[in-house]
């Protein structure tokens, strides 16, 4: 047998390395996505026979006011929630990571404190949130009774303007350490010679941050944005746990995840038209909506590297 060329060998190695990942991804991600497409074409309450309805679910989602209005409302609020979360995570995350990078005394302890919430289960954080913001919770008790600054408790989760930002802030708090760790490792990766050169040129600290540090941080920002985006648009754990599938008050905390849940499992005892098919359609449309943004950001990131 002729000796294998280097290129051929390299190709085989690549195939051997990629195959397991591709198989796993295919089985657990791609196939369900294809199955979802099939599911989106039927009307099925989760038990019994499914009715094939073609693209009826998609038509309803686009045309029927009952579904369309809920979808648009959930989408807009989902975007708003994402903006709030990513804004808080990038701004505060960078600030805290910078502070940690400055060789502050006791930074090991700070790091531990920042990282504490991350391993907590979503349900535990949701429960904690509820204890904090209830009318007789910690925050209201402190400001109304202890300090006397507020006349009446603020109903954070009962206010149509405050409920969603409250949930978003707790999400950001929960995942903040993930942002800090990524940003901090990027900061640590800044080449010291570049900083020294900038220092010799007489650059101010702010100038050094702007011209040398931030460009290096961009890939970390992009990574955080993509991961948070995919999570915020696909999951709704806090909202479901605290506000229920009806996403009250007045649907003001409704996001695509809660809309999807409500459509497949029903919101209340009188929800008769539960339909897994419609839920699949919502899931697919959501995936299609965030896919371009996620791909764009991820590819941009690759090129930078």
């Amino acid at each position: 047998m002729a000796k294998m060329s280097y290129n051929r060998k390299a190709n085989l190695q690549r195939i051997a390395l990629l195959t397991p990942g591709l198989l796993l991804f295919g089985i657990f991600n791609f196939l369900p996505l294809v199955a979802l497409l099939g599911l989106s074409l039927v009307n099925w309450p989760g038990i019994g026979d499914a009715d094939f309805v073609g693209f009826e679910n998609f038509r309803k989602l686009a045309r029927e006011p009952y579904y369309r209005d809920q979808f648009v409302n959930a989408l807009v609020q989902n975007v708003w929630m994402f903006v709030l979360i990513i804004g808080a995570m990038l701004l505060l995350g960078s600030a805290l990571a910078l502070l940690l990078s400055f060789g502050t005394t006791g930074r090991g302890a700070y790091r531990a404190i920042y990282f504490l919430p991350y391993p907590l289960a979503g349900a535990a954080v949701a429960f904690l949130l509820d204890l904090m913001v209830q009318p007789r919770g910690a925050i209201n008790t402190f400001f109304v009774k202890t300090m006397g600054w507020w006349d009446a408790p603020i109903g954070f989760l009962g206010d149509t303007d405050l409920a969603l930002p409250t949930l978003a802030m707790f999400y950001a708090w929960h995942r903040m350490s993930f942002a800090i760790v990524l940003i901090l490792s990027a900061i640590v990766g800044v080449r010291v010679i570049l900083l020294e050169a900038a220092m010799l040129d007489g650059a101010s600290r702010w100038r050094m941050l702007k011209a040398v540090v931030f460009p290096v941080l961009a890939p970390a920002f992009v990574l955080i944005t993509v991961i948070v985006m995919v999570d915020v648009f696909n999951n709704a754990d806090y909202t479901l746990l605290l506000m229920g599938p009806e996403a009250g008050p007045l649907r003001s905390t409704d996001v695509l995840g809660t809309f999807l849940f409500r459509t497949s499992f029903g919101g209340s005892a009188t929800s008769v038209n539960v339909n897994f098919g419609m839920a699949a359609a919502i899931g697919l449309v959501t995936a299609l909506l965030i896919l371009p943004a996620a791909l764009f950001l991820a590819l941009k990131n690759l090129r930078k590297d």
Partner: protein
């Protein structure tokens, strides 16, 4: 081995086989934590001959999705269903739930409760399990401390609330964050208190419209309490649990709730073990409490143990079960004949249900809930809007009517 010992071993094997065959273990799904001791007792004492029940409790929030997912792959032999044809429909359509076996005799049950297990055409699919009463529940200690007698008119109620407010007690505790409570409890109790039975029945058959003055008044009364500051400061921020906590703590005096909150396993007694809860209707023109068959025990038509399953269902129709149910669950059974009630609290509830309860149940009416948006949905959303201060009672009534008209409900032609 001698022939003798061989026979002994054989006999032993056969005996153990007989025991195995006799003890049929059935699975029963439920969201009702309060029934756990009851079914344990039934299994341990072999009250249903040769049948033991593996009672699986699933939290109410997850019940429907867990049940549906498990039923795709066999599922439990028996499960509890929520009341009414609207909930039953998809299970009937899927062939999961079949009409009750003729061997199960329901003639001993209270006739008014049977609809809890009936489909839209009146076919009986399940055995109803409890009669629930919903009304105003009040903290007796708080009433006594402020020298308040049970109000008999809306004006007396308002005066009592003013007294309580002046004493620094929140008169009405509202848990508006829980949508299910708004439609299933508040909507129904207000209707039973303010709207005469015939008019309420008219809402269900479409001869009376939701824009009718009598229905608007139910909404306006709640709005009036809120506008007069007789409710907790942020009624939409508190959920059902927070609402009960406030009453149990004595920070609030009254709430609109089901009598199940006064049962022996109610979490309210964990806050105050000496708590005493009183019941009264909303003292309006109709002045009645609201009573309904809570739901039903259903058989999975695909269970491999149909005979044992029917034995269980038959047992739930008996007087023996009714007495166990009253004693161990602390709720009213659906049994129609005489049975012993030892708990005075339960006896009081039984009296109110028997003598002064409204019979119309719009929340469970199939005609109002078979399309989307359903009546239940519209009322839950609507009360939240009302408590948010963003809609007037008249506009809300019109909105509920328009929502029902949008899918051509039974009264659509009459109520344009």
């Amino acid at each position: 081995m001698t022939a003798h010992t061989g026979k002994l071993v054989l006999a032993g094997l056969m005996a153990s086989f007989a025991v195995e065959a006799a003890a049929q273990d059935l699975t029963l799904y439920s969201w009702r934590e309060q029934e756990i001791p009851l079914w344990e007792h039934i299994s341990q004492n072999n009250l249903i001959d040769g049948v033991t029940i593996n009672f699986v409790r699933i939290p109410a929030d997850n019940y429907d999705n867990k049940l549906r997912i498990d039923l795709q792959d066999g599922g439990p032999d028996l499960f509890q269903g929520r009341a009414g044809a609207a909930w039953l429909k998809s299970f009937v359509d899927a062939g999961i739930v079949a009409p009750l076996d003729g061997s199960i005799d329901l003639s001993g049950l209270a006739a008014a409760t049977l609809s809890a297990g009936q489909g839209a055409d009146g076919t009986q699919y399940g055995v109803p399990f409890a009669v629930q009463m919903e009304s105003i529940l009040y903290n007796k200690g708080v009433f006594a401390a402020n020298g308040i007698e049970e109000p008999k008119t809306l004006d007396e109620l308002k005066a009592a609330a003013d007294t309580l407010k002046a004493a620094g007690v929140t008169p009405f505790s509202f848990g508006g964050r829980s949508g299910w409570w708004l439609n299933q409890v508040v909507g129904e109790v207000m209707t039973a208190g303010l709207m005469d039975d015939a008019t309420a029945q008219g809402l269900i058959d479409g001869s009376v419209c939701f824009t009718d003055e009598a229905f608007v008044e139910t909404l306006a009364t709640v709005k009036g309490w809120m506008d007069a500051g007789l409710m907790n400061a942020a009624p939409l921020a508190d959920d059902y649990g927070a609402m009960r906590t406030a009453v149990a703590l004595g920070e609030a005096a009254m709430m609109i709730d089901g009598a199940w909150s006064s049962g022996p396993s109610s979490p309210m007694y964990e806050i105050d073990p000496t708590l005493e809860i009183g019941f009264m209707p909303v003292p309006g023109k109709n002045g009645k409490v609201y009573a309904f068959g809570d739901g039903s025990y259903l058989a999975n038509a695909n269970s491999e143990h149909a005979e044992a399953v029917n034995k269980v269902l038959a047992f739930t129709t008996t007087k023996e079960f009714a007495e166990l149910f009253a004693g161990m669950v602390g709720e009213l059974p659906v049994y129609g004949g005489d049975y012993a009630i030892e708990d005075p609290r339960l006896a009081e509830i039984a009296g109110l249900v028997a003598n002064n309860s409204a019979s119309a149940t719009p929340f469970f009416a199939y005609a109002l809930n078979s399309g989307e948006p359903s009546y239940g949905q519209l009322v839950a959303d609507g009360y939240q809007e009302l408590l948010n201060g963003s809609i007037s009672p008249e506009d809300l009534a019109a909105k509920i009517q328009a929502g029902l008209n949008s899918w051509g409900y039974v009264g659509a032609a009459n109520c344009q």
